[in-house]
Symmetry: C2
Subunit: 193 residues, 2 copies
């Protein structure tokens, strides 16, 4: 079992956008810590979620269904936010499940409280702005990779940029994340070795 360093709340908040102590405390006051075990379904599709999370320790994946088979489209590790964007942005039901792939320690932040802080504290509003901007950059990078690179290239990139994910997650999830079947990923792995 590979262990990864846990990520402290201060660092997570600061990495997004620097805040004064006052504003930072306002966010921290709205955050609670929870431990949940491997296999726990954190978000359920077609439900309104009331929280977003940050991963202190552990990994998770988001997946949705296409016909019968589930497709993983996101992995999160220590420091990453767990957000159902349709919930967070538009108060709509999400289309994804989020499953914890290891025992996790999470920071939970009630969306409602955060939305209130956005309207009261300009620093937190900018923190929230930066949060979405950074997620947008990640999403765009992902998009470009899917559109520009072959499955083999995407696999090698994942191997290079997120070696921990590959070691900690089963290949069927990685295959669907890469947009290919598990059989196809196996072939790629055999060729690359």
């Amino acid at each position: 079992m590979i262990t990864n360093k846990s990520m402290e709340l201060n660092q997570i908040i600061d990495n997004i956008y620097p805040l004064t102590a006052t504003s930072k405390n306002r966010i921290k006051e709205s955050i609670t810590e929870t431990k949940l075990s491997k296999g726990h379904i954190l978000f359920k599709a077609n439900k309104i979620e009331t929280s977003i999370y940050f991963i202190k320790k552990g990994i998770a994946r988001a997946y949705a269904y296409s016909d019968d088979n589930e497709i993983t489209f996101w992995f999160g590790k220590e420091g990453d936010p767990i957000v159902s964007m349709q919930n967070y942005v538009n108060n709509k039901k999400g289309y994804e499940d989020v499953e914890l792939l290891e025992d996790c320690e999470l920071y939970e932040l009630k969306t409602e409280k955060l939305q209130k802080l956005f309207l009261e504290d300009i620093q937190i509003a900018n923190w929230g702005r930066k949060f979405s901007e950074l997620e947008l950059i990640k999403s765009e990078e992902r998009l470009i990779a899917l559109q520009f690179n072959t499955a083999t290239e995407r696999y090698l990139a994942l191997l290079k940029n997120y070696p921990s994910i590959i070691q900690r997650v089963q290949l069927s999830h990685i295959a669907s994340y890469l947009g290919i079947t598990q059989v196809s990923l196996s072939r790629i792995r055999a060729k690359v070795k």
Copy 2:
């Protein structure tokens, strides 16, 4: 030649996030209008851009190079923002060119002015937050489509959701947008008819 309705500035700003008249005017004071002709390269890869734009009238595309061939990864039409995200978010050089595909009327907003407003006006900070959130939703939808759907399904979805793009843009750009070759798109079109 298909003509589309032009999109007024007030509507563009309001569609993102409702603002008081004062805050809205602050944004509007920072915006200038320009007309640029078809073929104009608005953003150049590996350059720091100092503005973002909104399309009043016309269409545009963003593309980047993979080896020799250019790949279109974004289309914009009336009402859409034109932003080089790496420039806007991280002040880094972008990797994309943006080309105007028709004669265009654009609203130009200097990034520096906007960043200043973010720090001074909480309403505008939240407007900027919402702006990125909405772009993030679009990006995620795009990502899901690429990962979940076949080329044929993506083509049909584009046909359904953005009929104007298909009528106004040449097929080679659409093919690369869909992540396939032009030949492959031709085959799909022949089959679908």
